[in-house]
């Protein structure tokens, strides 16, 4: 492999980008849009949940509990009976009802309470948010009303805390997913362009080797990926105010390594396809299983057990897990070594496969 020819290809590819400002904008705007869409789409916590309240308490603790609910999570309206609270949820008008019985204060003083929630289970996320809002209000009320030992819930967070924003926990997966999208699609398209108008044929009639061709393009696309990961981190940190406890630069490097594997995959598919049209068709086939089964957006535990083994063969699994471990658990190289090894093997296999196949198209 001659470095000069590799760099000639890299220079050419970057030159093509430089001439095409619209593509440059595209290359930087796509990660921006992806992380915004995924971030707002998946990363938000439910707020302003329509909730009805029946407060029949003859003492003050019931009102104190309502006052202690975290602000903004529940939109409370009051109804007068248990039955109308139930029907408010049943009709779909409200997502939840909080029913505080007549003896609430007395029960609280006696150290044992009865609180009824009517929940709309059609959205577990929303229901869970209601429960955790009520639990947090209960905790704060009973810690200030003495004698609360029977209700005290002790939470000991090994990672994060009860106040860790959801976006922090999902941002690593979103970033890995965004990199998968962008680098794969871009490299498929770059190689499809090379196939047109006899260019590949001409390049391979020259002293250029397939390995030099692939390495040159991999370099230029890596430059692009480095810029794209920068966009992702900027959005995560500035717009979503994500705060990571781990080493951001380390996570950055892992995402770029993942990007190199993906662009190898893109080149491999482009080289394997018989036509440009075929090459483009690989895109959904490649992305959708990884969105669902790699644990990037949804935890692996949320996938039926029978499907979980699929995650083992999806590169996104390793990238998402490594970036999550680095950013959320603060792990170093030792903790994610196996994931990095898997990503390295992925990159080597894909680039190697692209080298073997690309000449066939000339």
């Amino acid at each position: 492999m001659a470095l000069r020819r590799v760099l000639a290809v890299t220079r050419k590819a970057l030159g093509q980008l430089a001439h095409d400002r619209r593509t440059v904008a595209f290359v930087l705007v796509v990660p921006l849009v992806l992380i915004l869409v995924f971030g707002y789409g998946f990363g938000g916590q439910p707020t302003h949940i329509a909730t009805v309240v029946v407060n029949e308490d003859q003492g003050t603790v019931g009102s104190a509990l309502l006052a202690a609910l975290p602000s903004g999570v529940l939109d409370l309206s009051t109804v007068s009976s248990n039955a109308s609270a139930w029907s408010a949820v049943h009709s779909g008008a409200d997502r939840a009802a909080i029913v505080i019985g007549p003896n609430f204060t007395a029960m609280a003083k006696a150290g044992s309470i009865q609180l009824t929630l009517y929940l709309d289970g059609t959205s577990p996320t929303v229901a869970g948010a209601v429960v955790s809002a009520v639990e947090s209000a209960l905790q704060s009320v009973f810690s200030s009303h003495g004698n609360g030992s029977a209700f005290r819930v002790t939470s000991d967070y090994v990672y994060g805390s009860s106040t860790t924003p959801f976006i922090d926990t999902i941002a690593p997966g979103i970033m890995a997913l965004a990199i998968l999208f962008i680098t794969t699609v871009l490299s498929i398209i770059v190689l499809v362009r090379e196939r047109s108008a006899g260019l590949l044929e001409r390049l391979f009639a020259s002293p250029l080797r397939a390995s030099e061709f692939v390495a040159g393009h991999a370099l230029s696309l890596t430059v692009v990926a480095v810029a794209q990961v920068a966009v992702l981190f900027t959005v995560a940190l500035v717009i979503f105010h994500a705060s990571f406890s781990g080493n951001v630069l380390f996570a950055y490097a892992v995402l770029v390594l993942f990007g190199v594997g993906n662009l190898g995959l893109g080149m491999l598919l482009s080289a394997a396809a018989r036509s440009e049209f075929q090459a483009i068709q690989f895109i959904p086939l490649l992305l959708i299983p990884q969105i669902l089964f790699a644990g990037a957006l949804f935890p692996l535990e949320a996938i039926p057990v029978a499907f979980r083994p699929i995650s083992v063969i999806l590169p996104l699994t390793y990238a998402a897990r490594a970036v999550q471990d680095i950013l959320l658990r603060g792990w170093g190289v030792g903790g994610v070594a196996l994931d990095i090894l898997a990503l390295g093997i992925y990159a080597a296999l894909m680039l190697g496969g692209a080298i073997l196949l690309v000449r066939r198209q000339a």
């Binding site: 000069r4 020819r5 760099l7 000639a8 290809v9 220079r11 050419k12 030159g15 093509q16 001439h19 095409d20 108008a197 006899g198 260019l199 044929e201 001409r202 390049l203 391979f204 009639a205 020259s206 002293p207 250029l208 000339a362």
Partner: protein, 251 residues
Amino acid sequence: MIAQREPAAVAISVRHLTKRFGDTVALDGVTLDVPTGQVLGLLGPNGAGKTTLIRILLGLTRLTSGEAELLGRPAGSRDVRPRVGYMPQDLAVYVDLSVEENVELFGRLYGIHGTRLRAREEEVLELVQLSDRQRSVVAELSGGMRRRVSLAAALVADPDLLLLDEPTVGVDPELRAEFWEFFHRLTDRGKTVVLTTHYLEEANRADRVVFLHGGTVLAYGAPAELKHRTGTENLEDAFLHLVRAGSGRSG
């Protein structure tokens, strides 16, 4: 002036070359010697096997049987590639790059760099009359200009052997005449030029021509000789005469 490598008397040597694509025979026992320092016109209708022959010489297509050597080395071998310039029939330049970026890319791929690259670039752009457009993006140029960029890219590394597939399509007559003068200046310096063309009359300016027909060599010789042999006035008539004689013989 670069020192010439040991000049082989024969730039291209093809022996009993056959190429099959499945049941289709694209080349059928072609034997041909192209002397160093000549312009060879490769003529024949579409499907005659011209492009297949060129692709085999470049190492882009594998031959089925027979032998093909360029500059004394097997076709497509690594040490011969840097010495062979190629201009495909398709445009094959990056339309989203400038003229000079295209020329420089191919210069670098063929191993020339720095000031030598700059000097060669200037020389070939002058030849194809694009010196004033070197910073223009190819997409902004006319069809004829684009072909001139493609030719410049084939020439920039000063190769010993040039394989040009339809280099003069879309080039106006005045510039076409200049191209031919240039091809002969190259052969004067010991270079060899093989080109295909649809303009049979311009093939009169080649030192030798090959008529390919149905994957076989119908005739090979100097244009004047072929016209004389067939008793015709021009190459087109000579070709038709040979085709008819050939089909008469076989049927």
